[in-house]
């Protein structure tokens, strides 16, 4: 089942020998004109009335546009100033070799991580992840709270800002120490909760290549049954440190996730360009990161979120393009505007899960409160997304039905996006010692869930 890395050495060599380009011409003369031409050639058009499009022709056109864009633009290595380029035959070969499923985690906690189809009746694989930083003293309680969630197939822990009381600075010994503390504490938390083999994605504290390499250890650290992420530079760029990570993950033997967040309002422009770029990022993930799955977080340049109408369209359309035309495994990462213990964040989580699940994505939930504030995330936001994801497959929801639901739910919050409530801190709405939600938040959760049922969602339980 596991695929070998696709011609890794040959492709890495292109970062040394590919065509020369500096950063600005790469964006101004290559990236932007080809993106504009692709939107026009394939007639890609965003429709605000249909955040969940049901048009297969649109999904297939988006796939073709993304493929062509990737082949024409390539990936710039900013350290060597060389463009790594690809031809269609090798993209097709790599796509053919992608197995479409992996057994991740270990022992009784192992799970099958699979490619999903549009309107797939299998539930999404759900990774529960706070995506924010936390106080050192809250790392274990927060991790335990996420690990306790029944629908969590995998967990990604919060990020440390301090280690042993020292402020962590990237690329210094404090980062190494913090990364080891992160990996060890998460492993210990998983054992305490009784899920010692659960699929872990670690460690967000290790931003640099050296810190990631330092935590590869099948006893106390990241195991080969776990996963790590490797990112891209905005947009379609990479550097040697990121390539170091990609190579190390392959040689160590863990699962690689390609972490890419095309920016709506950035170099890709509007929804159409952002969606094409997200499709292209899947190919960068497959060929450059040599990744086993793609983790997508397209986001709005002003709000750092993706629960608005135009971003939901980007998510839905691009995941449909991938689901219909490849066997690639793709995650959709919710970036929500409101903070914990607000009705808005729960509605946003529901909408993000609806748009993603019905379009063929797995779920990675959720960065909340604009992904900006320390200690401001809880497992209940992820639980809502996962429950809605399971409801979609349970009730065999079609895209048209999802679109109707999304329209109703988005209307509840879209005028509050710019000044969304920040909500509560983890320690305010959770019993920290027990790592359990407090009654007030559970009551709010139940009210929102009831409302979703009234709107037509059918939860399995």
């Amino acid at each position: 089942m596991p695929a070998p890395p696709y011609k890794m050495w040959e492709i890495l060599e292109r970062a040394r020998t590919g065509p020369f380009s500096e950063d600005e011409p790469f964006i101004m003369e290559r990236f932007m004109p080809h993106l504009k031409a692709g939107i026009k050639k394939y007639g890609i058009e965003y429709d605000p009335a249909t955040p969940i499009p049901s048009d297969d022709n649109l999904a297939d056109a988006l796939w073709q546009a993304g493929l062509e864009f990737f082949l024409k633009v390539g990936v710039l290595c900013v350290d060597t100033h060389r463009i790594m380029t690809f031809d269609e035959k090798e993209v097709k070969e790599a796509l053919y070799l992608a197995p479409g499923e992996y057994l991740v985690g270990s022992g009784k906690d192992a799970r099958l991580l699979k490619h999903r189809q549009v309107e797939d009746t299998n539930p999404p694989f759900a990774i529960f992840s706070p995506d924010i930083t936390c106080d050192e003293g809250l790392f274990s309680p927060l991790s335990i709270a996420y690990l306790k969630e029944p629908l969590a197939d995998g967990v990604c822990a919060p990020i440390l800002e301090e280690s042993m009381g020292l402020k962590i600075k990237a690329q210094t010994p404090t980062e190494l120490a913090g990364s080891i503390e992160h990996a060890m504490s998460l492993r210990q938390a998983a054992k305490l909760v009784g899920r010692p083999g659960i699929f872990l994605v670690a460690a967000g504290t290790a931003e640099s290549d050296m810190a990631q390499i330092s935590i590869s250890h099948s006893d106390w650290g990241v195991r080969t049954t776990d996963s790590r992420l490797v990112g891209a530079l905005t947009e379609l760029k990479i550097d040697n440190a990121l390539l170091n990570k990609a190579l190390h993950y392959q040689q160590f033997g863990c699962f690689t996730g390609s972490l890419t967040g095309p920016i709506y309002g950035g170099y890709a422009g509007r929804a159409e360009g952002t969606a094409i770029l997200q499709v292209a990022y899947h190919l960068m993930g497959l060929l450059v990161h040599q990744a086993h799955y793609q983790m997508n977080f397209p986001f709005h340049i002003h709000y750092t979120s993706n629960s608005s109408r135009e971003l939901l369209w980007v998510i839905s359309a691009s995941h449909q393009a991938i689901a219909r035309n490849t066997k690639l495994i793709s995650f959709s990462n919710g970036f929500l505007n409101a903070g914990p213990a607000t009705d808005m964040v729960l509605y946003e989580a529901a909408v993000h899960a609806l748009a993603s699940t019905v379009s063929g994505a797995n779920l990675w939930e959720a960065a909340v409160a604009h992904n900006k504030y320390k200690n401001r995330a809880t497992p209940l936001e992820a639980r809502m997304a996962a429950e809605v994801g399971h409801a979609c497959s349970h009730m065999k929801l079609k895209r048209e039905g999802a679109n109707e639901l999304v329209q109703k739910i988005v209307a509840k919050y879209e005028d509050r996006i710019a000044d969304a409530p920040l909500g509560s801190l983890f320690q305010e709405c959770y019993d920290v010692a027990k790592a359990m939600p407090k009654k007030e938040y559970l009551d709010l959760y139940a009210r929102v869930k009831d409302d979703l049922v009234k709107m037509g969602l059918e939860f399995p339980y």
């Binding site: 964006i27 932007m32 962590i168 600075k169 640099s208 530079l233 920016i263 002003h302 750092t304 900006k372």
Partner: protein, 221 residues
């Protein structure tokens, strides 16, 4: 439509070739170069405002800035001769701090500062604290702008301020900080002079800071 209006429109539309031709036309028609610059500056400021309102997107703003740059290149020999009349807003050295490879936010701030009349030296990403200071000294900058996109790289902003203090240079530069995880509280904690939540806010804050600095300098003198 008058030449000047057409020129502003060409710049706003990001049509560099047309902007160059119309600048030449304006000069041939003996339109005062300073009047051309003034019209262009107002026009490009409007582009920045439209970007903030998301009526246009980054590609359009970048093309407009490029067209503006081409027009200004043609005007610069005339402006050298008439320097006294041109508004000099200030010189900014900007970059993303050490260990951080994120550039787009800093890039947008640099672009907006530039189109609003600041002279900007963009040092790129992963910039060592001392390199910010050395470059700021070299170009006689007024402002050092340090961006950080990760909590683990934010200490790089503090390092710049601490080094400035240790080098006896803190008073020489206005230090502004920004980036997604950077908050007003953090800016205050590390002793930064200003913090902005977004690019347009950064322009307004730095314009005000420069006015205050000039006012202070005049009073002192």
């Amino acid at each position: 439509m008058e030449t000047l209006e057409r020129l502003v429109q060409a710049v706003q539309d990001g049509e560099a070739q047309k902007a160059v031709a119309l600048t030449q036309e304006a000069l041939a028609a003996k339109i005062e170069p300073l009047a051309v610059v003034k019209a262009l500056t107002e026009g490009i400021r409007e582009v920045g405002d439209r970007f903030e309102r998301m009526e246009i997107f980054l590609p359009e703003m970048m093309l407009a800035a490029q067209a503006m740059q081409k027009a200004l290149e043609l005007l610069s020999p005339y402006l050298e001769r008439q320097k006294e009349g041109r508004e000099e807003k200030g010189t900014v050295v900007i970059g993303t701090v050490e260990g951080d490879i994120h550039e787009i936010g800093k890039h947008i701030v640099a672009l907006l500062l530039e189109v609003n009349g600041f002279t900007v030296y963009d040092l790129g990403a992963d910039v060592n604290a001392l390199d910010f200071i050395k470059r700021a000294q070299e170009v006689k900058a007024d402002i050092i702008g340090a961006s950080a996109l990760m909590t683990t790289t934010m200490p790089g902003q503090r390092e710049i301020i601490e080094l400035l203090k240790d080098m006896g240079l803190r008073h020489r530069f206005h230090v502004t900080v920004g980036g997604t995880p950077v908050t007003r509280d953090w800016a205050e904690e590390i002793g930064a002079d200003s913090w902005a939540e977004n690019a347009s806010q950064a322009v307004a804050i730095l314009e005000k800071a420069m006015e205050e600095r000039r006012g202070h300098a005049r009073t002192t003198l």
